[in-house]
Point group: C2
């Protein structure tokens, strides 16, 4: 599958915000929108603030909004308002790889859209959603804008060395553990062979992390990938437990025998550094670094 | 795949209790054990009460306990102490269809073992775990004993008619929604074609029910099965929500277009009627009944 990258953005380009997942808090959204508007001309669809139970409006609305943003020639990139849940449901209604390729920015529930794009070799951006952007430091926003505008590789990221040392290279895959594992056994799981699997999550108790990880194991994922990168696992502790989610993750990583580095500021924590999914990276589990071998966008 | 049934039990037969999943409360266990001991000669393994984080001891201990119980010629059936989490991990360490076929009784996390047995055409018993048995009425225990001892079909079960009417026949599949969907894309998912899918769950918020259901959908399960039977969905409500888990399940069922009946007393509620997995049943979604076309055990 040949790799394709979305076109680079320029400051003041027109971009769209879409809500393919859950409804969101207006205050957090407005704070993030202000950050986005400091750099781009941002368009919001009419139905963006709709709510249908735990979804940001009906499947039809959310799908049409995403399709319209990708099809509109004036729109140069698409940002997700918030995660939550709902992107998986959109996959049933539209084949994303048949639409124009533009930078799609988001994480968490948006992992489903990234994965679907990656099945067709399309690079996609694992980065802050709008409701998160206003709570991040200015540096995070600057790094996101640089990733979207500059075709050269972003700076190396520093995490913690893993128990299993080693250096491996491969395309960066994954995102949210809960959402990524919900694509196992479906046509929306990208090719895993030789990949570096990024995982992060929020609000999942340790036994649930184990259950999802064991799903990956039983599905043969750890026999296919080359290494593992762990982002933040936020609010994943069991109340009154004698063990932490980090203890559990350390055991699970050890069982795979794969090079792994953790502690990267990627996910639901205070810093969510944007990274390109689909591009080649080098994981150094001995040093605890993630080096990007290419940029996210085409010149 | 030819169907095989475990041999029928007799009163006072020797049976074993095993804990392949999570650790458990001793008081609930003792109450259930008393019920079991009213009918059978019950053996407990030495390590049954071990705890390792959220597991009832190490994978090695839990696996060996299950293997020993199945291999021991004196033991005629195997009962699970409790669900929780951990049975999936055992699947990595032992091929259950290579061991002697005995009635295996449990539900919830034990869905993983039932599914693995069903991949080899083995009938298995979706019924109360020991920690639940003491809280059930005497009628539930009597019905479980009858299912294990009597090769004829158990009595018809009455639920509620579904939105999509129709009568369908097929082998009964499934169990716990969370656990069953964790087998998608793995070798432990039984053949689905023409099956009647039983689903129940506990402690899953509505958007999570939707996410698991959508996983089944994206994996093509609803194109393969013939009908759906819903048991109890216990403690599955969202706090302060304007919708219930029943509303969400009704929408999800409607989307499949499959005959479905719900409200069966199967799962984590006050009554958990034992049913055989793998045997042929008739679902009448118009009447809301589940008719068993054969028994669980061989004469």
């Amino acid at each position: 599958m040949p790799l394709t990258k979305p076109p680079a953005l320029k400051p003041f380009d027109t971009v769209a915000v879409v809500a393919p997942s859950g409804p969101f808090d207006r205050e957090s959204f407005d704070a993030g929108l202000a950050v986005l508007r400091s750099r781009y001309d941002v368009r919001l669809g009419e139905g963006l603030f709709e709510t249908a139970r735990y979804l940001a409006g009906s499947d039809e609305r959310r799908t049409a909004e995403l399709v319209d943003a990708l099809n509109n020639p004036e729109v140069k990139a698409v940002f997700a308002a918030r995660g939550g849940y709902g992107a998986m449901r959109v996959l049933e209604h539209v084949s994303l790889p048949r639409l124009p390729h533009k930078a799609l920015v988001g994480f968490s529930d948006l992992t489903a859209l990234h994965a679907a794009l990656q099945t067709a070799g399309r690079v996609s951006i694992h980065g802050p959603v709008v409701t998160q952007l206003g709570k991040q430091s200015a540096a995070v926003a600057q790094q996101l804008f640089a990733l979207l505008e500059n075709p050269s590789p972003p700076p190396v990221l520093h995490g913690q060395p893993g128990q299993v040392p080693g250096q491996v290279q491969g395309p960066l895959l994954g995102g949210n553990l809960s959402v990524f594992t919900r694509l196992l056994g479906t046509p929306f799981m990208p090719a895993l062979t030789g990949g570096i699997l990024l995982l992060e999550d929020v609000g999942e108790r340790p036994y649930r992390l184990d259950r999802m990880w064991t799903h990956l194991k039983l599905a043969g994922v750890f026999k296919q990938i080359a290494g593992i990168v762990l982002g933040d696992f936020t609010l994943c502790e069991e109340k009154d437990a004698s063990y932490t989610s980090a203890d559990v993750l350390a055991s699970l990583v050890q069982e795979t025998g794969l090079p792994c580095a953790g502690g990267f500021s990627i996910g639901h924590g205070e810093v969510n550094v944007a990274v390109p999914l689909g591009t080649r990276v080098q994981l150094d589990a001995t040093q605890g670094t993630l080096t990007f071998l290419e940029g996210a966008v085409s010149a």
